[in-house]
Each structure stands twice: as structure tokens, then as C-alpha cells.
């Protein structure tokens, strides 16, 4: 029996079928692996597969099988199909392992599957449905009011910021409404580094949660709005401390498929800098100095959106290694073989228990390094890992790199 494309009505998925069909179901994607004279790595990297185990859940093989089955009419949509689709975090570990020509299209396929699921009468996770129903009104997925977005910002700082500046600090929803500590540390850091920046009251969600859960129509409004901000405030680039915002603004807004979504939302062309890249550049140029030390053993968690998705692995490590007193130790699963914190792809909202369970696995791995602090450069990872620290009664402490840097760095 051939897997003939029958369900052309599933347009988002059907347009990818040529690529989806290239998945041989070989299973390379199910396990992280590298072997050679200097390499000897083998570990489970797929959080979804680690949790649910069945082939359908493990690596990209299962999702590609599901897509083929749905498009060829071998199976029908069901709540279980939705569960398989929505428990995929989109961490990209399977993409790293894939060696066939579907590789570059896998993230798009995961999101296209979710997009099609919304059109069916199947069980979209309640948590995802809930924030999705209010995001248009609130401009954030936290069910908070848009007008409260800058409440974290002390009035004194707010008043000192220029109306127009070289950079817009794109705060992101998690730092604005939940991890305000990171937003505040970032602002203080940028001020100490004497960066010409401002914060804008009409920043909307970057659309990452919408794209990662396949909600293209709503995402369009957000992308069209945010891309106008630089022009409106006379800025030349966005600075962000959020890995999710960085991935979305730099890839989804700007790159052609399969990486980005210019086919759906048009092409944007602007500069996006993660705070950590900014600091790294200033350290390299000798523009900053440290006025104290940080005498702790620290391990770094690679956020999937900054690491595997955007290939930024070295900048955070270079910055951490430049901090006096800090000892950086690596987890076994790091860089391209990092293990996800469990928050992305709508999973934290949709499946909180599974999300925290995944984060606890990561905390256990961090503990095994002997570090007392786990750091990252993503408020969303910070939040999930910190919740896991509390839930598992770990003695580790969660810190964003900006929180480590801000008290001890200054511009020369």
C-alpha cells in the first residue's frame, strides 16, 4: 500500500508532505548520540519520549508517522492524536539527530500538526485553550492586562528612559508579568553598561507561544504589530533577555521557510541581539570590567530556543568564564545535546505535571555536576526550572546570567 496524499484539505500539513514523506522512520531521532576519537555521547534527549515511551511520542519519527497516517487517510484525528502532538515540546533534539531531508522541516511540521489540530474536534489541552482565548485582548499569554505590562518597572527608571533610543529592550511576557527579577536585572545591567535603550509600552507578545502551538492567524496580528516598533521609536535593533523572543524575532519574523515564517507573515529585516551577546561583545572589546567576584560553582542550561534553534552556544559560556571567581561546570547533556527544561511548545500551560517532571529531571542532572547554581538566559526556562527546584526540594539556586552580572559588572 502506498502512502498516497489524500487529505489535501489539511493544507498546512499537506504542503509539507513531500518533505514529511522523506522520513524513513529509521529512528535516528530517538536518541542523542555521537561517537568518535574524542566523542562518546549517548543519552535520551527527547523529553516527550522519555515520559511517554511509545514510538508515537519518541523523537520526530512518531510525529512524522502521525502526519503520514493522517494525510494518507490511514487514521483519523482523535484526542490521542492531539495528545501526541501537543506533548511535543519542540525542543529540537530530534532535529539535531535527523540525517534525512525532512530535518530542516521538522519544527515546521510539529507546528503545522498543531495548527491542523485546532481545526478538528479534538482535545486541545485546556491550559493552552485558556490563554489562547484571551491573548488577543491581553497581548500576553498570562491572562494579565496589557496595561499592567510595565508594572514591574520602577517609576524612577521609567522616567529616566528616553522616548527614542538606539535599542528597544524587548522585555517579553514572562519577564514582564512573572520573572520581573530578570527584567529588572536586565534594565540595571543595560544602564550600567551605558547602553542607549528604551522600553516601549506597546510591546506585545512576540508570538512565540502562538507559533509554537500552531495558531498562525492570531500570530499574524502580533508579528505585524511588533515589527513596526523599531521604526516607530527610531531604534535600530531589539535587545532581549528571552531565548523565546530571540528565536521568534530573529528567525520566525525574518527567515524564509523552513526556518522562519516569511511565507505567512511577510519578511522583516531588523537586528536582534540577546543580552548575553551584547555583554560578550563588550567583554571581547575590553569595554567592561568587573568590580567584584562571584565565587560559586555554576552550571549552564542551554535554552532550546537559543541553543539548538538559534545555534547560540558559546556566548553565554564565554561570558560566564569571564566572571571572576565563577567556576563553570557542564552537565553531560549540554549544547546541541542539551535536555529541555520542559516548558516550551505550550507544554507548561497544557501539561503542567509533565512539564515540571521534565524540569526535575534537568535539575537532578544539574545537581550531579556539583554546582550550587543553575543559570540560563531565558525567563521561561528560569521559571520552570525554579518551580522544579521548589517541587523537588533541591538545594540548587536558579539565576539568570543577567542576575549574576548586574551587581559586579560596569562599563570602563
Amino acid at each position: 500500500m502506498a502512502l498516497v496524499l489524500k487529505r489535501t484539505d489539511m493544507k498546512e500539513l499537506a504542503q509539507l508532505y513531500d518533505r514529511i514523506s522523506m522520513c524513513t522512520q529509521c529512528g535516528n531521532c530517538k536518541y542523542g548520540y555521537e561517537y568518535g576519537p574524542t566523542e562518546n555521547f549517548a543519552a535520551m534527549l527527547c523529553p516527550q519520549g522519555d515520559k511517554y515511551q511509545f514510538e508515537a511520542y519518541r523523537g520526530s519519527k512518531g510525529k512524522a508517522a502521525l502526519a503520514k497516517g493522517l494525510l494518507s487517510g490511514m487514521i483519523e484525528w482523535s484526542d490521542k492524536a492531539a495528545h501526541i502532538i501537543f506533548t511535543c515540546i519542540g525542543c529540537g533534539a530530534c532535529v539535531e539527530m535527523c540525517e534525512t531531508d525532512i530535518k530542516d522541516y521538522l519544527q515546521r511540521m510539529f507546528e503545522a500538526l498543531k495548527s491542523e489540530a485546532w481545526k478538528q474536534n479534538v482535545a486541545i489541552p485546556e491550559g493552552v485553550r485558556k490563554w489562547s482565548s484571551t491573548i488577543r485582548e491581553n497581548r500576553n499569554p498570562y491572562l494579565e492586562k496589557h496595561e499592567d505590562r510595565l508594572n514591574w518597572l520602577p517609576a524612577s527608571i521609567r522616567e529616566s528612559l528616553p522616548k527614542k533610543a538606539e535599542y528597544i529592550y524587548f522585555v517579553g511576557c514572562t519577564a514582564s508579568y512573572r520573572q520581573k527579577n530578570i527584567a529588572l536585572a536586565t534594565v540595571k545591567l543595560l544602564q550600567k553598561l551605558k547602553i542607549d535603550f528604551t522600553i516601549v509600552p506597546d510591546e506585545w507578545c512576540c508570538a512565540s507561544p502562538l507559533l509554537r502551538t500552531g495558531q498562525y492567524d492570531i500570530a499574524k496580528e502580533f508579528i505585524e504589530h511588533n515589527r513596526e516598533l523599531l521604526g516607530k521609536y527610531g531604534a535600530s535593533a531589539f535587545i532581549t533577555t528571552c531565548a523565546g523572543c530571540y528565536r521568534t524575532l530573529s528567525i520566525d519574523y525574518q527567515k524564509d521557510p523552513p526556518e522562519g515564517y516569511t511565507d505567512k507573515f511577510g519578511k522583516s529585516n531588523f537586528k536582534v541581539i540577546h543580552t548575553i551577546q551584547l555583554v560578550e561583545e563588550m567583554i571581547k572589546k575590553g569595554e567592561v570590567e568587573f568590580e567584584g567576584s562571584f565565587n560559586y560553582v555554576v552550571t549552564y542550561h542551554d535554552p532550546c530556543h537559543l541553543g539548538r534553534h538559534a545555534k547560540v552556544y558559546d556566548s553565554p559560556r564565554n561570558v560566564l568564564q569571564a566572571i571572576p571567581g565563577l567556576k563553570l561546570v557542564e552537565m553531560y547533556r549540554s549544547k546541541k545535546f542539551s535536555f529541555c527544561c520542559g516548558a516550551g511548545g505550550g507544554v507548561r500551560g497544557g501539561f503542567p505535571d509533565y512539564s515540571i517532571e521534565t524540569a526535575i529531571k534537568r535539575i537532578r542532572e544539574a545537581e550531579s555536576t556539583g554546582a550550587s547554581i543553575i543559570t540560563c538566559v531565558c525567563p521561561f526556562c528560569w521559571r520552570n526550572l525554579n518551580d522544579a527546584i521548589n517541587a523537588s526540594k533541591s538545594s540548587m539556586k536558579m539565576m539568570d546570567i543577567t542576575e549574576i552580572l548586574e551587581p559586579i559588572i560596569k562599563r570602563k
Partner: protein, 486 residues
Amino acid sequence: MARGSKEILQKLEQIVGPDYVSNEEAVLLPYSWDLTWTEPRMPDYVVMPKTVTEIQRILRLANHYRIPVIPYVNATNIGGLCVPEEGGIVIDLKRMDRIIKIDPETCYAVIEPGVSHAQLSAALKATNPQWEGYEFSKGFEFGWGVHPASASVLAMAINHGIGHLNGRLGINSQLISSMEVVLPTGEVVKLGSCAFSDSWHSFLPLPRMDGLFVGWMGTTGIVTKLGIWIFPIRPYKDVLTIAAETAYDMTRYMVHWRHYSLCDEVTAVSWWLAQIPIPYPYQEKPKDVPEWFSYTVISGWSEEELEYKRKMWKKVVEEERARGTKLIDFEYPPEAKRGRTELPSRIIGSTKNYSKSCGGGLAWPGTFAPCKSWPILYEKWKEIYIRHNLSPAVRFTDFQGAHYGMLRAMTPFDKRDPDSVRRAKEAMIECIRVGIPLGMLPYKPPVEFVNELNARADPGYIYLLTKIKDMLDPNNIMNPGKLGIR
């Protein structure tokens, strides 16, 4: 959508817990097919046991209700072995993933079915050969094949999989040293030295009852633990390459070279298999390039040992040239060389070489054949493949000496196109048909190949095969249909 019966589902849930059973089509779907043209068939349940006791209980249940049972780990066998011909219960064994023991003194390991090549190679590389704590060298290895690293070591070994040491040591089923099996009727048996002590080092000098479970494609029981011999990694390696105009000339060179038993592997591939990807549909070979390319991997404990092997290899090439064998010098691409000396490899282990841009289909007439028949069958297969608009991407590999070796044709095809699926299937069955009279035997064969084999088999062979199967599996629940006799 759910399949099967609620009653059976509940009983399976009672055995392994509700998280590890499903009868939902969306979960069952990946268990219904593999890379090949084997007709997809949906199982009714998938169950993921963690212990031998759970397997026993599942098999007793299946026997009671006469439900087919299909053992499964990764299903990358390219023969449809795990496709449930008659539905039933897929037993996905990947939760049984313990490396139970690595004995660095007696040089064996004991593994469960879910242990992947990735897992085992990493663990073996980190274990050093030693005696009473004195370490001789760094790391162990097993026969690593050219497949995804997620594949099961146990499943590969008991199904006659080949590895990178097959020229020196034979195929992986020859490297098995002991086993534990759950019989279809639920009893647990130990075979080999492990039946008498906790030492899993050898089957000999006992009767080779492991033969009741090796090469039977999961139709006679479920192997739950396997002892395998492991080998010290030799620190010096090299890959030597030579091309030839014809399959005859290539075979003459290979037979001569392996006569000295100096290589870990000697393999030759036709021009079509040397391309990445294999041309699909068929493309004519450029006239100015050789038709056959070979590599041989040599290894040693010192540069001197390696140099001696290089010298002997050059002598063979010179002697063959002197007697008229047309051998052509060529350089192996660095990536390919790396892949051959660093197995299991992500590069070679993937299927990108075979299936890029071809709609995800991959199958083979994979056979063991006497070397004499390689060039004869290659010419026959080439005609068949070209007639079916497929590239004759053929490989010869010698197994441990002068007796026999592998002859196979990697065949990408487009699973989206019914005509492409049909052509690939028909071509391969025709290849098997012409090969059997010349001594060729398909390994890990799909049912269609088994039927060809059985049609030509000695009646006594079929009689005993049937008798053993009936004795071990009276209700024919184990992977039914795969032997072509029930």
C-alpha cells in the same frame, strides 16, 4: 480510535500498568509499518513491559486468548519483521534497557533487548580490557552495523545482523555467548553457561539450543537477556580502497585479499551504491568511471602491524594486476572513511545515504551467498533492477574467511507512489528467485522472500522447521506468518 477489546486492554493494564498499554490507533500507527514495502498492518495493542515476569504474563494471556504477539524494539530491520501480519499485541521492549553486566576480564557483556547501539557503544568505550585491575588497552567494541544507533543490539544479533568486525570475527549472531528466553507458553529458560552459574561467557560445550531462537525472527520466543562477546578496540586503523571495472574483477581481488585473514572488513559497492543518494529512479553510470569500489578496514596494536597489513594488501593488488585483474586506484572521501572507522556512526547509521528525496521507502534483497555467485548474481540483478527502473546499488561483504558473504541491493523507492512500491517489490522478489538456485539465502527476510525460500526448500527442512515451531509455540502466537509455514 481504539482497536481490540476492552477486556484484553484491561488485562494488559493489570500486567504492566495503564501508562504502558495502548489500543489507540494514533499510538499504534508507528508499529504498523517500517521502511520497506511490506504492507502496513495495524496491531490491536501495544504493551511496554519492564520485567521478565511481565513478559511471561503477557504471553500466558496471549496464549489463553490465541492473540498474536510481535516482539519489537526499533523495527529498523528492512524486512518487515515487526509488521503484525495478523494484528495482535506488539510487545515494545525498549523499557528493558539495562546493560546488566560488562565483564572486562572475561570479555563479555549481558544486555536486555532495549539496549541500543548508542547505549552499548558508549558503555563499552568507557570500559577498559583488564586482568586483576591491570588495564591492557582502552575500550571495548562489538560488531557495529550501518544502521541508526537507536537500534537494538540484541535484536540485531539474534537476527543475524552484520557488524564492522564481520571480516575478522563473523556476523553478530556468531558473537552470542548465552541467553535467557521466555518461551511462547510463558516458561523462562536459560541457555549456555548462564544456565549453570552467573557466568555468561559461552554456549560451548553444551548442545546449541540457542539455535532455536537465533534467525527465527521472533517466532519462537522472546529473548530477554543476551550474553555477547566484546572485543578490545585496536588503536590503529586504516581504510584501503581500490576500484574495479567489473564485479568479476572485484570478486577476484576480494577473495584473494581475505585469504590472509588480515582485515576487519572487506566490502565492495557498485557505482550506484557509492552515490549519495542512490540515484532514483535508475540513472546510467557515466562511462568514464569504474563500476565497483571497495574498502577494507585494517586494524592493529601498533603502526608496524598496520604497515605489515598495508604491505600485504599492496602485494595482493600487484599480484592481481599482474594476472590481468583490472584494479583502479581511488581515494575514499574523508567523511566515508571516518564513518567506516568510527562505527556506530550517525553519518553511516542514518538512512540519508539511501533514501534522500525518495519518498521514504527503503528495502533490499539482503542475502548471504557463496562468493562464487556474487558476480553472476550481480549481472542478473543488474538486468532486473534496470528493467524495473531502479539503480543496481549492490554490495558484497566477506564474512570471516573464504566461505560466504553478503550480497544485497539497497533500494530506495517512493512510498507515495503505488507504482514505485510495486516495482521495488517485484524486482526484489525476482532477485531472490534467481539467487536461491545459486546458493543465495535471504536474511531477515520479509514473508514474500520466505515463501520463495520455502518453495525450493528440502522437504525435511520444512518438516523439522514446522515441528520445532509447533513444539515451542503450539498456538502459533509468536509473530505468526513470518515463517511462511502457518
